[in-house]
Subunit: 1008 residues, 2 copies
Amino acid sequence: MPKTKKKVARKPLSLQQVILGLQKFWAGQGCLIWQPYNVQVGAGTMNPATFLRVLGPEPWKVAYVEPSVRPDDGRYGENPNRLQQHYQFQVILKPDPGNPQEIYLRSLEALGIGMRENDVRFVEDNWEAPALGAWGLGWEVWLNGMEITQFTYFQQAGGIELPVPSVEITYGVERILMALQKVSHFRNIGWVDEVTYGDVLLQNEREHSAYNFEVAGVDRLRQLYEIFEAEARASLAAGLVLPAHDYVLKCSHAFNVLDARGAVGVTERANFFARMRDLARQVAENYLKGREQEGFPLKGKFHPISKPARALPRAAKLKTPTRPQTLLFEIGVEELPAADCVSARKQLGEKLAAALKEARLAFRQISVYGTPRRIAAVVQGLAPAQEDVELAVKGPPASRAFQPDGAPTQALAGFAAKNKVDPKALREENGYIVLRRTEKGKPVLEVLPGLLAGIVGSLQFAKVMRWDETGAAFSRPVRWLTALLGMEIVPVEWFAVRSGRTTCGLRPLNSPEIVIRQADDYLKTLRANGIEPDPAIRTKGILKQAKALAAKARGEVSIEPGLLEEVTDLVEAPHVLLGAFDPDSLSLPREVLISVMRKHQRYFPVQSGEKLLPNFLAVRNGKGEGDGGVREGNEHVLRARFADAAFFIREDHRKKLEEFRPRLATLAFQTKLGSMLDKCDRVERLTEQLSSILTLTPAQAAMAARAAHLCKADLATQMVVEMTSLQGVIGRYYAVDSGESAEVAQAIYEHNLPRGAEDAVPESPAGIAVAIADRLDSLAGLFAAGLAPTGTRDPFALRRAALGLIQILLARGISFDLRQGIRLAASFQPIPVSEALQSQVMEFISARLRGVLTDQGFRYDVVEAVLAAQGSNPLLARRAAEELTGWVKKSDWPPILAAYARCVRITREFPETFAVDPERLSEPSELALWEVCRKTSEAAVTLKETGTLTVENLLQAFVPHIPVISQFFEKVLVMTDNPAVRNNRLGMLQIIARLPSGVADLSKLEGF
Amino acid sequence: MPKTKKKVARKPLSLQQVILGLQKFWAGQGCLIWQPYNVQVGAGTMNPATFLRVLGPEPWKVAYVEPSVRPDDGRYGENPNRLQQHYQFQVILKPDPGNPQEIYLRSLEALGIGMRENDVRFVEDNWEAPALGAWGLGWEVWLNGMEITQFTYFQQAGGIELPVPSVEITYGVERILMALQKVSHFRNIGWVDEVTYGDVLLQNEREHSAYNFEVAGVDRLRQLYEIFEAEARASLAAGLVLPAHDYVLKCSHAFNVLDARGAVGVTERANFFARMRDLARQVAENYLKGREQEGFPLKGKFHPISKPARALPRAAKLKTPTRPQTLLFEIGVEELPAADCVSARKQLGEKLAAALKEARLAFRQISVYGTPRRIAAVVQGLAPAQEDVELAVKGPPASRAFQPDGAPTQALAGFAAKNKVDPKALREENGYIVLRRTEKGKPVLEVLPGLLAGIVGSLQFAKVMRWDETGAAFSRPVRWLTALLGMEIVPVEWFAVRSGRTTCGLRPLNSPEIVIRQADDYLKTLRANGIEPDPAIRTKGILKQAKALAAKARGEVSIEPGLLEEVTDLVEAPHVLLGAFDPDSLSLPREVLISVMRKHQRYFPVQSGEKLLPNFLAVRNGKGEGDGGVREGNEHVLRARFADAAFFIREDHRKKLEEFRPRLATLAFQTKLGSMLDKCDRVERLTEQLSSILTLTPAQAAMAARAAHLCKADLATQMVVEMTSLQGVIGRYYAVDSGESAEVAQAIYEHNLPRGAEDAVPESPAGIAVAIADRLDSLAGLFAAGLAPTGTRDPFALRRAALGLIQILLARGISFDLRQGIRLAASFQPIPVSEALQSQVMEFISARLRGVLTDQGFRYDVVEAVLAAQGSNPLLARRAAEELTGWVKKSDWPPILAAYARCVRITREFPETFAVDPERLSEPSELALWEVCRKTSEAAVTLKETGTLTVENLLQAFVPHIPVISQFFEKVLVMTDNPAVRNNRLGMLQIIARLPSGVADLSKLEGF
């Protein structure tokens, strides 16, 4: 029977049917059907039907196909998914109709993509087009693991804030077709009848790839850019916005071809972009001005189809509870970014608790829940009303409150009248008349509406967006509020959103409305509808399923905790699938495979011991139907991704690693600091210097120099351009393949380590040298370029660079004076790095070292003491901290410190150093102290000369003399009136106070 | 009731519904739905989906929208119909499906355009894109007078002959929408719901018009062209066809903008075009080569939907008639050009008659009929078989035929055997043995198939086309053959077309198949189906209806015979409609109104006396239904056309006429002869010279100079660019408006007269001078440029120029020596005009004068006589012809001529001139003759000196002396042996023979 069913299954749509279907669907939604633009564009967004129409207050609804040209994505028609020209189907809805995601999903169903049989997901993806001064927040839509659509709420265009955000939906037509028709290469997509996409466009792909990568005339394209720009400016000067916009688009395309051709240098790139941004801004501003002058003619057209707002129960009708009740408050949202899910739950719990406390509403317990589409709190035992509060109002002084006859004075009478009490009821407290009054708490239902609305507004996110004209801002649009106190709806209104008793069901079930009968039913009801609101339970479920499936593949799942946490908040009903890929792909670098699976696809790899298996685990949203199709889809995506990686590697292998260096000149490091090639050259020179400081053998130094020469080359490879996180890893592979020695290859890999706090640290001397050189160069240069990290910004990850230096030096036990290193690095920079700046860099690293040592458990004061003296050498600083920690733990430490402290304190106020004249010493205790001075000084000099001046050795040399010091203070008055005697005594104490200099500043210690 | 019906009438489709509807319709026809191109193009043809796919043998069916950019058509959004960007909907069917017109008409019906309620017509319009090296034949499709579609059979692209012609259907989307929605301005077209075309694109029209006409940077666009061309060449060099094609398109757009900006000079234009054509050719050739290398991969795809070919009756089954029968032969075609209808009918009648005669098939009468869709002949009384023929076969000489014994010789026996006769039956004729044999004629049905097929192939047209792969060529595709002899089908097969008994009905009835029962029913059956096959009857019908309707409008129809003839062959069932236009439009120049109505719309104007009425008469095909809609449609078109004219005039009025002169530099006259400005300057200089020759007064000469200066200026006005036929007319209007004197304005107008044989001739001296100068300049220059007319080619209408000169000189009675005129004109040319060339020009004009005089009824010999002497002065030549005609008619003319002839004949053989020595004259008749010589010579000199040397005067002076001459010959032997005497006598006769020199060459006369 099922066989028959399969047989009569509808034939999947052809490409042109999909396009016609989408046109028809969106026309049905009141959209204007528009045409592709007749200027080459990189995306439908650049079509004036989007870029200009999203500006200003006028409504606009449009849908159109856009052949989108991205020269850099050319693959000569070989890659299954990637083309230099692909078809977008672009939709703009302005204003937001209230349920754009649901409308969009209906459009997929119209194409035959059922929600139950497929895994359709909204995965965070924010969008920015710097050349257009435009950005927005939204998602990639995944269909069985493949990105098929970009869904964005536009926030800004042409540098102008959008008063009415637009919903932008950009379908990837080829992607949808490949999924629908289950073909594995774009060439095989059926366009109409027996004619394929390849029949129609393969030649185009091949030839334009060749043109863009090999043939385009670089000088001529530069000229084109100039001319296009000049025409754009001339058009703007004449008030002609649309011709100007066309030329901006032409600039952009010329730039893209130049870029694909590898011809854009660092400064030039920034320059190109700044000019395009400037033009785009002028176009946008002038367009808007023109529309305003015409009175925004489209106002009142394009009636939005919007869901009617819910009616709120009227306050008067609310039944005030008499007993503690459970409160449910759910904020219904469009899919939140995973990180925001975690943060929002935490904030909701804390802020709700604080707000209830502040509002004197007692409760037993708050539990928070959440999925990508909801943030919820369940408050159990919430008091039916605020606690009463007793107020004390201070009146006149008791002495002036009553007349001698005991009658109230005028003053008291006035106070009583004002507070509407009988003066006789007032009592004296501490000499004043005080009115004590109990204010009755308000019923909970009077307080909650404002309180809960305030909670919604108080949640904070790294990025917020707007989606309508009300000004409401949130991580993603808030679409519903469910607020129940027991069985009653709490009438909450936040901007245009009103509360009710319904929530929203699973996407695979088309998000049905679900009624929550009462607050206590929340979890039960959601679970009955397939949603697991508790993230911890979701995590457990994923782990359990994953392990079981991995075992089925005779392997173990490889879990990365960050990924597990993320995946937990990508689904409401996790269901794990085991997929497979072609074992041939295992010949790709392991890191590439893992990176693709984890980073791009959010899959868990499966391994057997250290060996990767040709399997993966994908987590879909909602269980069950059509697993086969979902798995196939995910497998297809992975296949294409691996094919892309294989393409990159194949392309990259046309050159040796060293041959990629010239292209580094086209990659910016930083405007003032030049290109990546410039940086690489500096690192190479600095490495040479460091090799001698770090006492590398000549062989090691040679390897270090070679590694430094090549260390950035992989940045120019296609594989690393595609997956930046593989920098170094790919360098190592390609170095080996290019005939470099294993040591050089390893050093190239290691120079990039550690990539984070938990990462490995370079081991080989060459790797260490290059790694240190790279980080010192970055720190010195970027500080000088004014890019020292601030509280919120650290775009070049200098904190990590500084930490990396510390990690390396500590892990490898290298004593290295960073101050010297910084000075050397500074000397190679193309811009001056003043002494003061060098000190700033040093302080910045020291601050990181403080953190490291503190994290390692050293006492704060100990850390401060050693940093003050040895902060520039992390290894020595840590060793000093260890030794000092040993001393300060000793029971006899306080007198030791006290003795030393006396010497320091009494001399501290004198800036000058007093020379000691031994001839003038007469008192025995003076003479004894002089003897101590001589001995300890000599000892310190010896220690320094032997390189053994450590806390331990110094204190060992000092401590025996403490009795002499104590005696001195007992017997002698230092600050005698005779200046010569006094200065001689101070001089000796100065010698002792100076003893730990360069080892530790003991004055920083507690008890000093 | 009708009111209700109107109410429920379907709402007309919106723009996007029309586009979606067309996409759906053509997808249903198996077309691939393609997208607009992302490079600005002037037409969908330039999209590679047309330009490249039509090449070579592969099938292709495609449909797509194309926003088509024509900078020159920009009207700042003001003109109702004209836009710098309009939407085409482009369809390519390759190969021809056999019934593309019918499929196309179904698509209109799918949009709600019914064939009965509308007048849909195929009006000859051939297409050529010189920059693409492409051309084709076909039609404009008119919907109620408005062009809504271009329908073309592609013959060539990229300079390459197309082995499989493609059908190209290009809908004008805006036009269709205006008709459907009955809106009068493109701005008001409904795009979707309440959003109009103006809402979407008005700003675009305004701004791009301004950019193209006012802002575009000329130097920068030139640079762009250069760069694009260089990139195209680089791409071609790398074997990349598609990128090269993109750049050709970009060249083309850059050129178009430059052109709209008025920045393209003559040489530059030719240069631009040549370069684009060269690139397009290379693109096409390389594309084709590439496809061939890949084995033409689309072969076998896009199965054509074609009508099954008719089965022919088998020859064996044909019933041979026994009595004379009527033959019907109809060639069914797609709409023929009107001129081809006339010619085809004539040819069919003549060639069929000749062929039947040649085939010895007797017939009583041939009648020919025809409409745009059929050419037919009805042959009455066609014999059932060929006439028998008697053959005479010549055998051996009778002398060698028989042996002495009377028995046949070997020779005779052989002859008899070869001819299968008994030698005894052979008889002698004129000394030879002759075999007389009667060959029996074949039955008519055996002869007709080949004969009729041959007739189809023998018809000749100015231009022929192919429409399928068979190689069949005709003016337009032949779609059916109807061939009946009596009731029998004559099986005719011409390429893929086979005969039958059906013909095709009226387009408004959706071309139903109509069965013709027997040949004699042809006319009756067609008429019963609404078709009038007799053009004479159609003409009469049109005239009758037109007169009646004009009377209704209280006016008279203004019939131009050429138009009437054309209209007759544009319809099968003429039905005249009276339309009206806004009387305000009557303020436009009358010539503009008439020209628009006649030339553009094929309407008959209506006038009352000289006054034009705001009405017109349109002839639709098929009578009846929906006349209101048809009239409205025609009225709308006319309104738009008049609006366009008003726009041109308004735009033109921004400048004075003189200010248009500089733009003449951008208009080519001829490559070697420079621009129109150059020509205008030459005419001005020549006019100055002619003014004195023509003895103009100084005031007249000044006017002539001014008129010459301005005479070509109107060529650069928008109005004349749009309607070339109004050259001069517009010049006059604008001259007046620019403040020129009425005389100058008139001379500008007149310089262009006469425009044809029947046209008016300049009257004012200034007008005459400029008109002559203009024509002399053209003749001298163009002959020198190698462009003397040939039998078939006269692209510069030099015949008309020569005739014009003659018409002017004759009509205005101006004695003017053209030889002198040519010499002057030659002296101003930028290239040398040799004496020989000048003589050629003179002979060319004389040849025209010969025609003129002959047409005026002069005897051939008289014309020759005067031309030989006075051919360079048409006026004198005619006067001489008149006088000579008077003489030759006289009864005593023969002796006069004879006397003169004797003098000429006897002296003719002596090249030398003999001096007469009077001293040596002795004979009285000698002396008498000498007296005659003296007197007549003196008389001739006197006549010459007084300017009265005419035929009349000369003959008057000569005739009295004839007796003396006669006597001389009687008495004297001229050719005496004494050389001195002889020479003296010959000398006198030479004087007499020379008398008419410069007046007439009497030796050319009959009877000489």
